[in-house]
Symmetry: C2
Subunit: 325 residues, 2 copies
């Protein structure tokens, strides 16, 4: 079978590709387990090298219809749509966010309608679709009232994925991801970028700024757990999905102070003391609209899992992701 | 001030224009009451004649950017966006629905960003944004999980109106309208078209088909009440609106059997006996996903009102809307 990962050069896309190639099979929309012949890694950025002959990098922009046509060929069986403009950039550059997060998603979905058989379509949505006053923990049935452009664009993507699934154009699943921590690499323009930075930078001997208060609570998930949950979301039989196919992915609920304390207990005072507290109202305003705790009942029923605890997340990052200094 | 009504040749747009011209003033986005100098009636169809010198008909399609540019000039103060492809057509012709209900809404909103001052933007949304299992009555905070393409497209419009309001591009308000009964004129391709037809046609001596069961419940509002509620929604001060600016408009909750009984008591047996019961699963499937009773607490607090009862609705139609036979 032919699998497409958009954002395939990103760290999640790279990880997901590795996991899929190691696994070797996926269940297609008709319920058949099939071996993976091809994983297309589509991205605007140059892809990470992948020695596996089944991996195929394609560099280009999803706002180019010719590129979308080459990426999603008629025989495509599955699309994991991870490409997105992150929250901070989508807020600062409204038009860029609309073009990438909305128009490119729609272009991909439209292209999927042309596939020989309706493909599975796993959409990386986000807890940012929620905002404003909500019960704590947030139930699966909570209303979607985003308070950021990123959240609004992801919510629109969910509606498109759902309606096109209902019409039988695709077999879609929107997964509302927790904030992913620890992202390796450099800070990005996500409002949540600091949540990885305050762990990653101190471990590399670099100071990191925390722009929100220590008591700020976040709903987190490690890259490893997210990749596993992507696969669970893909494999779930259509008849087990909720009527509206947007699923709150389980995470763990921690305060920023607890994150730094976990870093301290795993890596010591010298490391943890590299976190600088410097309040940024623009970041805080976006992050504060995101709920920090979810029931994620449907996700758990489908077999999705959160991490065991934040110390584990820090240790896994050190063991698996840290570049040697 | 300059007011634009899209769908201005439709019966609701025509009624709204009459009400605005009779009223003479509206409150602009800065809170100032201003006299109405111009009401632009934009529509693909030829507009109804309007002798008032303040009324200006513009015929064209909202998917033509040049037309949108002429309709929403920089000095526009208010847009009532009523133009839409109705539910039955949006379901049968997915691409047409997307183009009119989504793309044209977005084009209008984008054009509003170019106005000298952010205009008010009243968006005619629909109870069709709801679907699936919901509490009865539906609370204002119910999740939006549409089960029709029309509902999905309206829900996307709400997200755009909200996010652009939050960004300060417009001062938007999305009003989720009940099914409007009795629409004068001919049947249309709305799944709810029968709800007007079973009153209108028998009163004109013509048989009408009811495609749903007598026990089917509907959430209804008369044209007169909808027009009044549009104006209430426009006039509501921004600070009284909910954080997510979508408002369930109050209606009345009646079964189809009660509708026919009201027709019988107002117009007699001979008229009511012209209703033919002929089940249509396609229509019933769409209508059955719409909830039939809403709390509409926020709408009522803002001053929106439902009709007094369905007999009144039938009488008002006979007195004000029926064309002489």
């Amino acid at each position: 079978m032919r699998v497409v990962i958009t954002g395939g050069a990103g760290f999640l896309g790279t990880r997901l590709a590795q996991a899929l190639l190691a696994r070797g099979t996926l269940t297609d929309a008709s319920g058949q387990a099939r071996s993976i012949d091809r994983v297309v890694l589509a991205d605007v950025a140059a892809p990470a090298s992948n020695a596996d002959p089944r991996a195929q990098a394609m560099q280009g922009s999803l706002d180019d219809p010719a590129f979308v046509e080459r990426v999603v060929t008629p025989e495509t069986d599955t699309v994991f749509h991870l490409a997105a403009v992150v929250s901070g950039q989508a807020e600062a550059e409204f038009d860029v966010g609309m073009r990438v997060n909305l128009d490119a998603t729609r272009a991909l979905l439209e292209r999927c309608r042309k596939c020989t058989k309706p493909p599975k379509f796993v959409f990386a949505s986000s807890l940012a679709v929620f905002g404003g006053a909500l019960p704590d923990p947030v139930p699966d049935e909570a209303p979607v009232t985003p308070q950021s452009s990123y959240g609004a664009q992801k919510a629109i993507g969910e509606l498109l994925v759902n309606d096109m699934s209902r019409k039988g154009f695709i077999d879609g699943r929107a997964l509302r991801l927790p904030t992913i921590v620890v992202r390796p690499g450099k800070p990005n323009r996500a409002a949540s970028s600091f949540a990885s930075g305050i762990i990653r930078e101190p471990l590399s001997g670099v100071e990191a700024v925390c722009p929100v208060a220590p008591a700020t609570r976040l709903w987190l998930q490690s890259p490893r757990a997210v990749v596993a949950n992507f696969i669970v979301g893909h494999e779930a039989p259509a008849e087990k999905l909720p009527a509206f196919r947007a699923i709150n992915v389980p995470g763990i609920d921690v305060t920023v102070a607890e994150m730094v304390a976990a870093l301290r207990s795993v890596a010591g005072d010298a490391v943890a003391d590299r976190v600088q507290w410097r309040y940024d109202p623009v970041i805080d305003r976006i992050v504060a609209t995101w709920p920090a705790r979810f029931e994620a009942r449907i996700g758990r029923t489908l077999g999705m899992r959160g991490d065991a605890g934040f110390q584990d997340v820090v240790r896994a990052y050190i063991e698996q992701d840290m570049r040697p200094l």
